[in-house]
Symmetry: C2
DNA sequence: CTTACAGTTAAACGACTGATTAAGTATCCA
DNA sequence: TGGATACTTAATCAGTCGTTTAACTGTAAG
């Protein structure tokens, strides 16, 4: 009792209240806005149906009917997913006559989809753990 | 009316019912299990709080108290998130006395986190669109 | 202008998620 | 053994997400 957890104020006090035995410097220097945006992208990728769709679009652009047929789903469902993906600027759309063609917005998305799917295909602990020693060079992306 | 959309049977008929004007071969050859797994990973990354945590763990392993302090959140909340991440085999845990240290499970996760955050930092359409012409070499990851 | 095709939008509803509070487990030290 | 620290688990509950049905918009063809 007697020390309720401090409400999430957005500063970085090294004061008491949280009895951590021994702190490293606390290099939290992560841009919150970037986290928010990246999480939104990941969340949009975090659905099997949407991911399948994106995996298809990675190869080439497709119109909605094609996606419907390939994914065995009805048009409103596909359209809703496309709308969500477009709102996150993950896909682009282009009209051609009666058809609307969708494609990935940029290469980064394609890379994310590919890396994710590759990881999913590999055995459980394929990439050896990053050895957790601080001071190793940053990941080269 | 008069042609209700076929219920999602799990085969791939090129029969009628879906009036697509002109199909490409339909190279849907995406492993559904891989999609499911990859989507699960993306979904786990798709939360700002969890992503911040993973961004910290990318640098070095941390115990729960450290994460609580750095992220300004209470322990059960952190613990729940860690549990979820561990269930998806995204983080590993190691006990040392009274403390439990968490780290990323492997390099792939670190790469995904890094790529996602980098993309989020860049301006809107930084990676030029992948030109959508089929036949270009596969993305080299 | 009317019909058919291609796609979007709206609204309702069930399922899942995430935060919170409280209680429980595990390890160390005196 | 008792207490304190470090962390986990359980249970509740509000908010969010995704699917579904139906209605609506836009384009081309006759």
């Amino acid at each position: 009792m007697s020390h309720p957890p401090p409400p999430p104020t957005a500063d970085e006090p090294e004061s008491a209240g949280c009895a951590v035995h021994e702190h490293r410097g606390g290099a939290v220097a992560i841009d919150p806005a970037a986290c928010e945006r990246a999480a939104a992208i990941f969340r949009a990728l975090g659905d099997p149906q949407r991911l399948r769709m994106l995996a298809m679009l990675r190869d080439s652009e497709r119109c909605v009917s094609e996606l419907c047929h390939a994914l065995h789903d009805n048009m409103p469902a596909i359209s809703q997913r496309l709308r969500l993906l477009k709102a996150e600027r993950i896909v682009r759309s282009r009209r051609d006559g009666k058809h609307i063609y969708y494609a990935l917005a940029d290469d980064h998305i394609a890379r994310l989809v590919t890396v994710g799917l590759l990881h999913a295909l590999e055995p459980a602990g394929a990439g050896r753990p990053p050895t957790a020693v601080e001071g190793q060079p940053a990941i080269t992306v």
